[in-house]
Amino acid sequence: MVGHSYMARDTLGTFEYQILSVLLRQPCDAYGATIQERIEDTTGRDVSIGALYTSLDRLERKGLVSSWWGEPTAERGGRRKRYYKIEASGVEAVRRTEAMHARFGGGLLASQVI
């Protein structure tokens, strides 16, 4: 559903969580290529730019991120950057997802080792 507000019970998928985590650490000047690089550097996973933008669109429809056009640069063939910023609801979604993971799996491996 387009434009619906983020529901309290919703939690983020892994890729969505990674994107929002990058935006949390880079709040002012994150755009597609820098988000892609950061996720690849952190996870070692090869990220496609298409998958990244479809996820960013989904997050924007949920109201978790906002975006705006930046300046065109020669390095980009005269094309503009699309900057992304995490919103308060996005921060809340990250917090909720981390809390859920901690409740669900926290100490699970530790208890097996003991």
Binding site: G32, S48, I49, Y53, T73, G77, R79, R80
Partner: protein, 192 residues
């Protein structure tokens, strides 16, 4: 053997205005550097910092350039491109002094020729990508392509671009298929 000449020895490119840079280029022209080459570089810098062809009119009308477009990465990129093309054409190469910061463009290497992205791949992406995303997607791909070409060479960069194209088509194509299926279902229900 390619000769080296200092261009802007005192300041980094990030610190100087474009007009000042052009003046420095003119002053640093030596007897064995073709004056037309310097002129050409000046024009390239002007076009480069504006980013878009339309904004060239801005300059020709004598209007000030938007400050947001005179960025370190734009100027560094134009200098890199100038050097690459000069090497390809066997011009006497004018290198920027080592103090100039080119790190904003890849690893700062100035030894790769200018390589264009695969145009067929761009066309394919433009078919599957929605117009509101297209500019950002192609811009990001071109940026990463140029950096990979500098670091890993043309062949690897082209391979990477085609791989990204295939995955982008898969990502956007999947959305198109899902929408088409949902629309068909909706139409079927409406008929019932």
């Amino acid at each position: 053997m390619i000769e080296k000449h200092e261009l802007v020895p005192e300041k980094s490119l990030a610190e100087i205005e474009v007009d000042e840079l052009i003046e420095s280029l003119r002053q640093s022209a030596t007897a064995d550097v073709d004056e037309t080459l310097i002129e050409w570089l000046c024009n390239r810098l002007i076009v480069g910092v504006q980013g878009l062809r339309d904004l060239r009119i801005h300059h020709e009308l004598g209007l000030p350039l938007p400050p947001s477009l005179i960025t370190k990465s734009n100027i560094a990129y134009e200098v890199w491109r100038f050097e690459s093309e000069a090497r390809q054409n066997r011009f006497p190469v004018v290198l920027v002094d080592g103090s100039c910061d080119l790190s904003s463009f890849g690893n700062g290497s100035t030894h790769q020729p200018m390589i264009a992205v695969p145009s067929a791949a761009e066309t394919i992406i433009s078919y599957v990508c929605t117009p509101d995303r297209l500019e950002a997607v192609l811009g990001d791909l071109e940026r990463n392509f140029a950096r990979r070409a500098t670091k890993q060479g043309e062949k690897a960069a082209r391979g990477w671009y085609w791989w990204q194209t295939a995955r982008t088509v898969a990502a956007f194509g999947f959305q198109i298929v899902v929408k088409a299926v949902l629309l068909r279902e909706l139409l079927r229900k409406l008929r019932l």
